[in-house]
Subunit: 400 residues, 2 copies
């Protein structure tokens, strides 16, 4: 996994996380470990992955292979310089891994969409008519993306009331959303769509992603133009990006798509998903152990990563290296596999009872949410890292 | 008006448009015209206004005053160097004036919102219940913002059909939206709202803005998360930003707000609007003269600029220098004052008949739309410049 880190008085630089250690790619570059690959080692001195990513897929592959060689054989590789290039992760400070131009949030978790429909439109079909025809998405806020570990302040805003007049105050329905974030690895010019068969070439990798949501603010504001202040107070990304190529062992067939989507969403091969285990841990008052409140899997996404990219650009919209395309909440069909408290507490009607005798409908101040993920197949495990954040109490709003 | 321009083989730099000339602020800075102001002249050598803007409001004011001195008195100021620093605008190539981090689109034109409601929800109240309580807004796409003059390719996408199954093809309902864009001049930290009384300090200036829209794509996709591909194929900004301070002579009282908004949207003074004339010119097949198809005024906006900024940040969302907050379509109450073809043709049911005997419901390939604006008060005129773009035919989609 690639990310940006610093330690001691060093400047931020590119690192590769390996177990509990981080390979310092700036130093590895200075030591000449990438010289024969024709890679400019300056890209590893930057405070975001964008310049490395922009070098393109052949470079990602060559650098990845070299890193595996170095880490596999201490004799041939790191022997003698191990202390210079391998940093204990406890010493590292972590940063947002990419400089994000635009952030898009999809809605590709079909069970999540069904659950929302069941809750808020109980008398209608759970999925809206467009759901199985196109990967629904909207634009989110790039400026408020933060790296894992950054506290999230409970937002205030207009809250709906039964009499139709809003009140003002801190959100009482603060939630997480378990998502994956795709990191765009290649830009397309404005006006030039990306064909679905080529779309995966435009994805560098994935991160764990938490799209914090204030359900009450969102419910009042979102008609007719979609979510805004209910979302843009903060979204958390893992500090680490897993290259898409490392997920190949976990590729599986996507669930059947009925009706068959329009040709621009159909590739030569059927759409695929990735068999990645995901879990949500609630740490009441930041408690170290925490309680697993959901176990789910990335294969529950209805639309493939390639279809998201193809759809996003079919009108000519341009993606840029470092953009984030989040998948939308990943939920499974069973109650223990939901990717938000909105679903887990069924909009607050079924509180979660916790071992400490407290209960939750939505998040309390001091709660920490950690999202974790991994792939495991044929004895091979790939860790997706984690993304976590603590809920801070709201600002005092006396000055309003 | 400030913008970014180049001429001949020069690099892009900051300029100030004055009539038909552009004052080259890079050269003016090299000549020492700003030395006594304590302004680093390097900010004028950049390819975006962001670094100049980030110097803050006292610098905007000091530089603006110096420029007016220079332009007013040739003897004391530009005499002898006039040819070095004043460029004929016909020689200039223009660029996007700012590097935009995030682009937000409001919906503050109340007549526009009413017209949309009348068209699409004829049996209900034209305004949704939240409209008069909060400035509705959503996030747009920053990557596809283009400078005035950039052609806009007709987007393709999923189009709704009566049988509920979408078809694929170029949009048949391509439209413009007449808007103003606020350019953010000061950043606020994540988690720290901007009070409405201080909000105007966070606005550097305004531009004319055209939020091109594909109504058919938008209608099919926008439930439940808002517009996406119907908008993000391109939005056009004027090359020139008018400092907010230059609009002071045109400040007027905003229309009454009923009900009174929540306290965080109320300032010490009543909300204000700006009396700025706006007009839309359609140039069929790029025809030089064109036909004025709408005349309207910025005072028709329901929410003030300050309220937009205060609302956007009340949940702690952080704005960044160079961000664009567009107002949403500015329409007046009368048919000749609508800011979109959707309204002018009443969703295609009332074609506009043009002097060349053609008619329009939505835009045809080859059409040019120019938006123009100005303020005029007590003999003082301030020009807002223009934003224009030509519609290019769609890509051939045989490869899909």
């Amino acid at each position: 996994m690639y990310g940006i880190f610093s330690y001691g008085i060093s400047s931020p630089r590119v690192g590769y996380k390996y177990g509990n250690h981080i390979l310092d790619l700036e130093v590895a570059g200075l030591l000449g470990f990438f010289d024969d690959l024709g890679v400019d080692p300056n890209v590893f001195t930057r405070s975001a992955l964008n310049d490395f990513i922009a070098l393109g897929k052949p470079v990602w592959q060559a650098v990845g292979q070299r890193i595996r060689q170095l880490l596999a054989s201490n004799e041939a590789g790191l022997n003698g310089v191990r202390d210079q290039v391998l940093i204990d992760e406890t010493r590292a400070r972590l940063y947002l891994p990419v400089r994000v131009g635009d952030y898009t949030d999809f809605y590709a978790g079909i069970y999540h969409a069904e659950h929302v429909g069941q809750m808020f439109r109980p008398d209608a079909a759970p999925l809206l008519p467009n759901y199985r025809h196109l990967p629904v998405a909207y634009h989110g806020r790039a400026s408020s993306l933060v790296v894992s570990g950054t506290p999230i302040r409970r937002p205030a805003g207009q809250l709906p009331t039964p009499d139709g007049h809003p009140t003002f105050g801190p959100s009482r329905a603060l939630d997480f959303e378990l998502e994956l974030g795709l990191i765009i690895g290649k830009s397309n010019p404005l006006g030039e769509p990306i064909a679905v068969d080529k779309a995966e070439d435009y994805i560098f990798g994935i991160t764990l992603f938490n799209d914090w949501s204030a359900r009450d603010i969102q419910r009042w504001e979102y008609q007719p133009l979609g979510p805004f202040l209910g979302k843009n107070f903060g979204s958390s990304m893992s500090a680490w990006v897993v290259p898409l190529i490392d997920l190949e062992p976990f590729r599986v067939a996507a669930q059947p798509q009925e009706p068959t989507p329009l040709p621009y969403l159909q590739g030569t091969h059927p759409p695929s998903a990735f068999d990645l285990e995901l879990e949500v841990v609630l740490h009441p008052s930041g408690d170290a152990d925490g309680i697993i409140i959901s176990r789910t899997n990335a294969r529950y996404l209805y639309w493939s990563f390639a279809q998201m990219v193809a759809h996003h650009t079919v009108n000519g919209c341009n993606l840029t290296v470092g953009d984030v395309l989040a998948t939308g909440t990943v939920s499974g069909p069973e109650p223990g596999s939901y990717g938000s408290l909105l679903e887990l507490s069924w909009n607050g009607t079924r509180p979660l009872h916790l071992p400490d005798n407290s209960s939750r409908t939505f998040l309390l101040d001091g709660d920490r949410i950690s999202l974790r993920g991994w792939g495991f197949s044929n004895g091979l495990r790939v860790d997706l890292g984690d993304v976590h954040g603590d809920i801070q109490p709201p600002l005092s709003y006396d000055h309003h």
